[in-house]
């Protein structure tokens, strides 16, 4: 019996996607980041309105864009980032909205009983009076699932549910999913982890660049096939000039950081070598520790153990100013939050990092305004930052121009190391090409470049070497031109290439 069916095209995120889920079925939705999985789920759940197409639950068409209606019809969603109130108890998180607002009581006894029932039926052990803050990630997720079950959902969507779970917790989750399905629920599982999908799903839907590329039964699938489907067949190889490498500029040896430093994922025994004249690409789904790595190299985090050497000399103190002086440039992934100051003018943003530069300000601290303007003009001209006026606030710039400004600003400092984190995220074709050429030119100038990206096309286009970040660890670096996308896809999804089943 078909429960759900949808056909729609939305923006550029989802194009003409149609599929259906049956009662008691587990459908896995697979695809790399940016493929459109989350957008699709948000459409089903009512957070976004599709530009065209319909969603029908149990044969009844659903109103789009209405989360409350979605919940009422029986769709439940467990988001990747939990919607829980940390300071409240499990019981309180479940009870919100379930009693009339002006009533006298919360009916906690009845609720507790129901929670116990569901707990037992589906293997979701939890203490109703525990504070959410004190729960482990696995328990928090159990709570999220409990919330959907409490609402008597028919369809439950799980968005990357195993992202931060221990192997034991993953097993528990799958037991829960099986029991959910046995009682007649349908489950849509979004994931990029091939192992898990192959373990637990009935059918697999593969998305790429917003389109459905495969809709198959589990039995027909295997890792190699799936990896191939995710990343697609065509591989663009750039025409790269023969590079001249220098000795190592940056050496990371057995670097470890704790999960509390910067990223929620701690770094585990990282070894990395960056050479001048080389672009080292780091692939991996976001959230595997990339941010911590970037911040470490930028001087923002001090490693718990291991050491970092710059041009052969061990570095002992970690602070941004010092690293900048050494010649390390960091282009952060949230360019609007960490990169530019939206309310300050383009001119001011151009010199934001240059207040110690004798060209910009006297040693005593007086700004040389004419020189600032000239400096800004130069950056805009040299790096093609298009703007009507230099005194406009920077938030008026398009994403591409912001990025060009940021990279240009750093390049003017003549850095030896450039870290670019998701440099072309959210940019249009033209801007992407511009950024790539800036990075390639920087490489030709002999700088060492680290590019962290989720975009595999980009990765293979510009990198000389590639490694993959997974769960806080970095794989050994391999020559980009010798690497198949499929291999990278497997590494990104946690499998080793040797395990590929032909």
């Amino acid at each position: 019996m078909t429960k759900v069916s949808k056909k729609f095209g939305t923006l550029t995120a989802n194009e003409n996607i149609s599929f259906s889920v049956s009662k008691g079925e587990i459908l896995a939705v697979l695809g790399e980041n940016g493929a459109g999985k989350t957008t699709l789920m948000n459409v089903i759940f009512g957070h976004y309105i599709p530009d065209s197409g319909t969603i029908a639950l149990k044969g009844v068409r659903m109103r789009s864009g209405d989360t409350k209606a979605a919940i009422k019809s029986g769709i439940g969603m467990v988001h990747q980032h939990f919607t829980l109130a940390e300071n409240l108890t499990v019981l309180e998180n479940i009870l919100i909205g379930r009693n009339p607002l002006w009533g006298w009581t919360l009916n906690t006894k009845a609720a507790e009983q129901k929670i116990m029932d569901i707990s037992e039926r589906f293997g979701l052990k939890i203490d109703p009076h525990a504070r959410v803050l004190d729960l482990s990630v696995g328990e928090k997720q159990r709570l999220e699932i409990l919330k959907t079950l409490y609402s008597n959902c028919d369809l439950v969507i799980l968005d990357e549910p195993t992202a931060s779970l221990t192997p034991q917790e993953v097993d528990n989750l799958f037991v829960t999913i099986q029991s959910m399905v046995k009682s007649g629920l349908s489950v849509i599982l979004i994931s990029h982890k091939l192992d898990e999908i192959l373990r637990v799903s009935d059918r697999i839907l593969v998305l790429r660049h917003g389109k459905v590329v495969a809709d198959m039964a589990r039995v027909k699938a295997n890792k190699a096939l799936l990896a191939e489907l995710i990343v697609g067949r065509k591989i663009k190889r750039p025409i790269q000039k023969k590079a001249k490498f220098t000795s190592n500029v940056l050496d990371l040896n057995s670097i470890n950081t704790s999960p509390t430093q910067g990223s929620p994922m701690g770094l585990k025994n990282i070894d990395l070598e960056l050479r001048g004249g080389e672009i080292h690409g780091i692939a991996g789904v976001a959230g595997n520790g990339q941010r911590a790595l970037c911040e470490l190299i930028a001087g923002q985090i001090k490693p718990q153990s291991g050491n970092l050497a710059y041009k052969g000399v061990l570095v002992n103190s970690f602070n941004v100013k010092k690293f900048m002086a050494m010649g390390i440039a960091y282009i952060p992934e949230d360019r609007n939050i960490d990169g530019v100051i939206g309310d300050m003018s383009i001119q001011e943003n151009s010199v934001l990092s240059e207040l110690n530069n004798p060209k910009i300000a006297t040693p005593r601290g007086f700004l040389l305004l004419k020189e600032c303007v000239a400096y800004a003009k130069n950056i805009c001209k040299k790096y093609d930052v298009r703007t009507q006026s230099l005194s406009q606030p920077a938030r008026l710039l398009s994403g591409g121009n912001v990025q060009k400004l940021l990279i240009g600003r750093w390049l003017e400092r003549n850095p030896n190391v450039i870290i670019a984190c998701q440099p072309t995220r959210g940019l249009d074709e033209g801007a992407i090409a511009a950024v790539h050429s800036m990075l390639l030119n920087a490489k030709s100038d002999g700088r060492a470049i680290l590019v962290v990206t989720e975009d595999l096309d980009e990765l293979l286009l510009i990198s000389d070497k590639v490694s993959v970040m997974y769960n806080g660890s970095l794989t050994a670096a391999k020559q980009a031109k010798k690497l198949e996308k499929r291999e990278i896809g497997l590494m990104m999804t946690g499998s080793k290439i040797e395990e590929t089943i032909k």
């Binding site: 941004v320 100013k321 207040l355």
Partner: protein, 353 residues
Amino acid sequence: MRLEARDHVPEWLTFLVPILAIFFSLFVAAILLIIADAPPLESFYYLIKGAFGSKNAIAETGARATPLILTGLAAGIAFRAKFWNIGAEGQLYAGAIAVTVVGTGAINLPSTLMIPFLFLVGALAGAVAILPSVILKQLFKVDEVVTTLLMNFIIILFVSFVLDGPLKDPMSMGWPQAASIVDSGVLPQIMERTRLHFGFIVAIVTALMIWFILGKTTFGFKIRAVGYNSSAAYHSGHSVIKTMMLVACISGGLAGLAGVTETAGLKGYLTLDLSPGFGYTGIAVAMLAALNPIGIVFSAIFLATIYVGADSMSRAMNVPTYLADVVVAVTVLSVLISLVLTQYKFYFKSNSK
């Protein structure tokens, strides 16, 4: 109703903010006057007359504006860096105490040295007064709003203590006040036979200096950057902590200067009622001027006008003088509304997702 941030706020619209705010607060004043049985137009006439009607009146307005410019600058520069210094009142008194300690006979220098010396001491005292709050914020992440505020009460009690004891003027016949500032330290009058004193010039010069620092120095640049987006400032290599601490100390120092002008310029000696809330009014001054140093001078003069004018207006029309305080309070709130109105577009359709 939905709010959507405007992409770009045109210049003229930002100028509209203080004007709208002033009109609105005068409108509220008119309503209160009607409730108080006083014809608004006639009352406003007395208000203007009281503030500008004679040489003496203008001098009074100037004298009133002096501390307001300084406390306005104190609030303005702190708020720019998002450091909510509500302790200007206490920092003002700290400056006044310091000036009394060194300026009532302990040290004797010729005028040309004494006066700058007093200003320096006052500023330092103000900076010291704000230090506990800054340190608590940096070390323990304690909100500075409440700590600077509570310090006001503590410092004013301390003033009461010193006026009862160590700094009490033996010649004041039991009235709690301190000895007079020595002649060489008293700020000279700049308009004969009025209370307008050199402090007014100092205040304006200070405003110009702050304007210069904010706009033309690297330090001012850092203050603004940290205030707008401390994360981006950090990523560009700036020390957010150091900047905040310096800003806070400067803010305290500016308020301390107000203590100097009132003690060594206006009154001549320290009393408990030296400041009728200048520290708090300074916040209104700064908000009205959108934290702009030059604007603060005008805004301070405007609010001084209200106070001085309301004094004589209330005598003429038998209306409680608190009207002036109401106008000031309404100004703060009207500025907030005007800011929202100019920074956001309003949509009145129902929210569609």
